[in-house]
């Protein structure tokens, strides 16, 4: 996983609440057995008009947001299906950071597994960033994970909270499975202990 340290990038606004992962990437793109190449499915149904042509009012179709790496959006982003294809598609499109007042749990977790930083800011602050991203051409933000801060071009700074363990993993781009495997002795000890209490859960380990 690619580490996330600081990111300065173009901001794209998605002014909708409760964006579910069925919208982030619809089902027809879930038949893949790969993690890559999912950008064409990103917000697929919202990119097109009824006749199938690109909707010029949708941000992804606007030249000014091409190359955006930061997405600013509304409450409860990523609700619904657990599909990790949602962060994969965002990443494939170039997004490394999503800023919203709140996220759905599974999506939030999935971001960290893929080097994407989900930033929770107060609703009022997100509103200001959204306004700027909509009105100021070429609007960029700097996101500093170490300092846990988002800075605007005018130097206004918004601090965000993040779980220290997750921060560390993301900052260093750690392999989380590798980390867990370092605790192998503890896992084995747990299994041995638990097997005595609840042997019916371990038909494969009982001799």
């Amino acid at each position: 996983m690619e580490p996330f340290t600081t990111l300065t990038g173009l901001v794209a606004p998605l002014d909708r609440v409760n964006v579910d992962t069925d919208q982030v990437i619809p089902k027809q793109f879930l038949k893949t057995i790969k993690r890559t190449g999912l950008r064409e499915g990103l917000f697929f149904d919202w990119r097109k008009l009824k006749d199938g042509s690109p909707d010029p009012s949708f941000f992804l179709n606007q030249p000014r947001y091409q190359g955006a790496t930061i997405l600013v959006t509304r409450d409860n982003f990523g609700c619904g299906s657990s599909r990790e294809h949602a962060p994969w598609a965002l990443l494939d499109q170039g997004f490394r950071c999503v800023i919203a007042p709140s996220f759905a749990d599974i999506f939030y977790n999935n971001c960290f597994q893929n080097g994407i930083l989900p930033v929770v800011l107060r609703s009022e602050d997100v509103q200001l960033l959204m306004n700027d991203a909509l009105t100021i051409e070429g609007y960029r933000l700097t996101v500093d994970l170490d300092r846990q801060a988002v800075t605007t071009p005018k130097g206004i700074l918004y601090r965000f909270e993040i779980d220290p363990f997750r921060k560390d993993c993301l900052y260093r781009g750690l392999d989380s499975i590798g980390l867990t495997l370092q605790h192998e002795p503890a896992i084995t000890a747990y299994e041995t202990r638990r097997m005595a209490e609840a042997p019916w859960l371990f038909p494969d380990l009982r001799s």
Binding site: K31, S82, I177, A186
Partner: protein
């Protein structure tokens, strides 16, 4: 020391180790795997040169992509076929049990777990699927995870977690005649909203919950995720134990008796505290119908479509307008005036034998309206077999419903069962998102009884007064 909730008891018995900041390595007893969210996990394992730690703790089944028509014809869509084949190859490679498409035990992953006795009280259960919450009906801590975490569990049998908060949702009283678990959970989501449960594990309590069958509790817990909670649970009781007894993967003999003794102890202590409590009165719950594009946009069948003009909150107003436009509905229209084109009875929410029996009892001797296309998709091959043994398939067929093979089908329309743009469907599934059942399709979430009545009348009716 304060007592423990059901959740606390399960969590505490699964902690492998924890850091001072609360980061916990949690042991996972059981994992279910399906074809859509697993290929990248198996690939990741292979690339890292890792093997599953306990292949026997995982059960796999293809369900999302499978055709619900004659299986002997194979899968027409070669991309779907490849995904299903990949699951079979991966499982064979590492020694994971898989029920393939021609196995009578094949079905929706959240239906077959309980059906096989793989789902047990007091366990931690995960699956790369948000409706894993279903298994909480057995007093298990069951939650959906992403593909990277699927890989993590395969490799380590553990997950790194932070302790969530607990919420009690207490439903007391007696449900009105013909109202069901589906109406309870839709009413709950209508009350707390789609993010109301974010960060919580819900325990459902109260006399109306106790009165539910295991099937009803599964319906209830299934949609916990639609309220934002990753998990929902109901404490095990005699019904739970009776359901599990004799299932193929359940413990047997002396081990079963030992397990039962432990399962009885999985009750929230009287002096335990939840972080939040919400209460509902069962008598006040009407049959529910969703009118919008999020499960929280739901209302009693005896009410009318909301009017955004009367909403003070700008964001809510905007979201409502957008939803009504997508759904092709006008404000203040009575729900019973909404006509449907399709009816879908199925999904991990409502495709179990009890759902089918109930649906058949309403369909018996009636005819599906000529304007409606209706189908019934059983949750598993075994349910289909059971239903056929009871003659339910005949009841459905004679009434004009299609009778299909088991799978997710039109719940998410990854196979050939898809709504056309603009088509309106009364569905017993769990999500009414834009395009969920097909691009441009319009979904109304309802109970099986309400779905049958809508199929026959061609529009929604109040099932309480329907003859």
């Amino acid at each position: 020391m304060a007592g423990k909730t059901l959740f606390d008891k399960i969590w505490d018995s699964h902690v492998v180790r924890s850091e001072p900041d609360g980061t916990t390595l949690l042991y996972i007893d059981r994992q279910l795997v399906h074809e859509v969210t697993s290929p990248q996990a198996f690939e990741g394992l292979k690339l890292a040169g890792r093997r599953p730690r306990r292949p026997a703790a995982t059960l796999a089944v293809p369900d999302h992509n499978v055709p619900t028509t004659d299986r002997r014809l194979g899968i027409a869509d070669h991309v779907s076929a490849l995904q299903i084949q990949t699951l079979e190859d991966n499982c064979k490679d590492v020694g994971i049990t898989l029920f393939n498409m021609s196995d009578i035990r094949q079905g929706i992953v959240h239906v077959i777990g309980p059906e096989q006795g793989f789902t047990l009280p007091g366990t931690t259960i995960v699956c790369g699927d948000s409706h894993t919450s279903t298994h909480g009906a057995f007093g298990a801590l069951a939650f959906g995870i992403g593909t990277s975490e699927v890989e993590h569990v395969l490799a380590t049998q553990c997950l790194v977690q932070k302790r969530p908060m607990t919420m009690e949702i207490r439903v007391d009283g007696t449900l009105s005649d013909r109202c069901s678990a589906k109406d309870i959970i839709l009413a709950i989501i209508g009350k707390i909203g789609t993010a109301g449960g974010t960060g919580y594990v819900i325990e459902y309590t109260g006399s109306a919950i106790k009165a539910l069958s295991m099937e009803g509790r599964m319906t209830l817990c299934n949609m916990s995720i639609e309220g934002g909670a990753r998990a929902g649970m109901v404490a095990p009781d005699e019904k739970t134990i009776a359901y599990i007894k004799g299932r193929p993967l359940a413990p047997k003999g002396e081990l079963f008796d030992r397990a039962v003794a432990v399962w009885h102890s999985l009750q929230t202590d009287p002096d335990a505290r939840y972080d939040a409590t919400i209460t509902l009165q069962a008598e006040l719950i009407a049959p529910q119908v969703s009118w919008g594009t999020s499960p929280g946009m739901v209302i009693g069948v005896d009410q009318a479509v909301p009017d955004p003009r009367s909403m003070p909150d700008e964001k809510l107003k905007h979201a409502t307008e957008r939803a009504l436009e997508y759904m092709g509905l006008s404000p203040n229209m009575p729900i019973t005036d909404i006509a449907v084109d399709k009816v879908f009875i199925g999904s991990c929410t409502n495709s179990r034998i009890e759902d089918l029996r109930l649906a058949a009892s309403f369909a018996k001797g009636k005819k599906v309206a000529t304007t409606v296309h209706a189908m019934v998709v059983p949750g598993s091959g075994l349910i289909k077999q059971q239903a056929e043994a009871e003659g339910l398939d005949r009841v459905f067929r004679e009434a004009g419903f299609e009778w299909r093979e088991a799978g997710c089908s039109m719940c998410l329309a990854m196979n050939a069962d898809v709504l056309k743009p603009g088509e309106r469907c009364a569905s017993t599934s769990n999500r009414n998102f834009e395009g969920r059942q097909g691009a441009g399709g319009r979904t109304h979430l309802v109970s099986p009884a309400m779905a049958v009545a809508a199929a026959i009348e061609g529009h929604f009716v109040d099932i309480r007064h329907w003859s």
